[in-house]
Amino acid sequence: MMPDDEPILSARGLSLSFGAVRALDEVSVDLWPGEVLAIVGESGSGKSTLLRALAGEMRPDAGRVAYRDASGQDLDVHSMGEPALRRLARTEWGFVRQDARDGLRMGVSAGGNVGERLMAVGARHYGDIRAEAARWLERVEINPDRIDDRPGQFSGGMRQRLQIARTLVTRPRLVFMDEPTGGLDVSVQARLLDLIRGLVSDLGIAVALVTHDIAAARLLAHRLVVMRHGRVVEEGLTDRVLDDPRHPYTQLLVSSVLAA
């Protein structure tokens, strides 16, 4: 796939304070179509805040986030208004949460969870919706026989895979992921990461991935942004930032990881 020339998402000068704490301090990032951008840093570095600001879930005190939609139009994420933002969130965008319970409807079956986005964009044929849900369960390695089970009956890893199916079923162009492997066993993490890697490259989705897991970033991301104290301290090609880190904080981050 040829890279497009224009970023799909472009943030300039994002600042956001919570009282005296500068959660975001003049942050600028770009994300290109089909590209996976990892945002790494320790807890409190501002990486999750950045993700939420990029996705329009949190309004920055200053700065601008521009999204180029499927028709090539540039949209200001923070001034488009809630109806437009919500429409985007259920069509061209997706969000995978760290805690699957925040991203799933726990009282609704697996099939209903996957089908919701289809129905939200107007699908009204039960048989088609169910068939598509079953296909996606299979794709995320959940036995389609479990289509009528609720997420509460699933393991943590399965729930997270279900959340991914639910998010990707409408083939969004841009997906935000907040620690998608957080809180899972290491063996489960590997499987999930590989699944995400495969789906993202097959579907050509742009992904903004927040993680504190350097190995996950290396496996998934084309580019890396390192955050600390609300600032971007280093960014670049993933393997270069990890193998030839320049900033003291990045060196510390990389050196504290075993065989990333």
């Binding site: 796939m1 890279p3 499987r191 990461l193 090609l237 270069r240 030839d244 003291p248």
Partner: protein
């Protein structure tokens, strides 16, 4: 006169270790290298002289402190790896620069065949065709068919090395970087690699390699470039 594919000039590279009190370790100063189409250049020098650092710079894995790394792409355009954007480097790696490292970076659960076919698929080749080419090359490197469908994580060093070689050679890159490509191979497979290098040269690829096996180096390298260690710290 054959055109160069790789022209590196004035390359300097050092490492500032902030965790060790900011000590600076210079590794390369004013290094350069020109490789023409159809040519294989071997880097030599004592261990620690900076051969691996130079290879990593040529691959974009390390960032140069100064200098230029000009790479001629298949379409004739020239890119400077030393200043290229991350996206441009990713594009160069997809289309122009092939790389065989000493160790395979294993991706969990991805079968060997897919690992090898990935560079072709990334370029847009139909999946079936890419897998067929990958399979042919793995067979040529004597990797048993029963291993093709398995993830290489559990393979022996030699088997992993052959997967790595296949991945590097499958996509006919104009520029190939080979870091100890025959290190853990038996004699028969070493011959296959020598043949692959010869074929790459014949199709006009430029190759840069580190070969500790002097016999292999003798047979594949057109020139040997010495990388000398820097005497004094900066």
């Amino acid at each position: 006169m054959t055109e160069w594919v790789l022209k590196a000039e004035g390359l300097s590279k050092g490492f500032t270790l902030h965790l060790q009190g900011g000590v600076c370790i210079p590794v390369l100063r004013d290094a350069g290298l020109v490789v023409k189409a159809g040519e294989c250049v071997a880097l030599s020098g004592p261990s620690g002289a900076g051969k691996s650092t130079l290879m990593r710079l040529l691959q974009g894995n390390y960032g140069a402190d100064s200098g230029a790394i000009l790479v001629r792409q298949a379409d004739g355009g020239v890119a400077d790896l030393a200043t290229a954007s991350p996206r441009a480097i990713n594009a160069l790696r997809r289309e122009t620069i092939g790389h065989v490292s000493q160790f395979l970076r294993v991706i969990p659960r991805v079968p060997a065949l897919e690992v090898v076919a990935a560079p072709l698929i990334a370029r847009g080749m139909p999946r079936e065709e890419a897998l067929a080419r990958a399979q042919a090359l793995l067979r040529r490197l004597n990797l048993p068919d029963r291993l093709h469908g398995l993830p290489p994580a559990t393979f022996s060093g030699g088997e992993q090395q052959r997967v790595n070689l296949a991945r590097g050679f499958v996509a006919d890159f104009p520029l190939m970087l080979l870091d100890e490509p025959t290190a853990s191979l038996d004699a028969a497979n070493r011959e296959v690699v020598i043949a692959l290098i010869a074929e790459a040269k014949a199709r006009g690829a430029a190759l840069v390699g580190i070969f500790h096996d002097l016999e292999v180096r003798e047979r594949v390298a057109d020139r040997v470039v010495e990388v000398a260690p820097l005497r004094e710290a900066a």
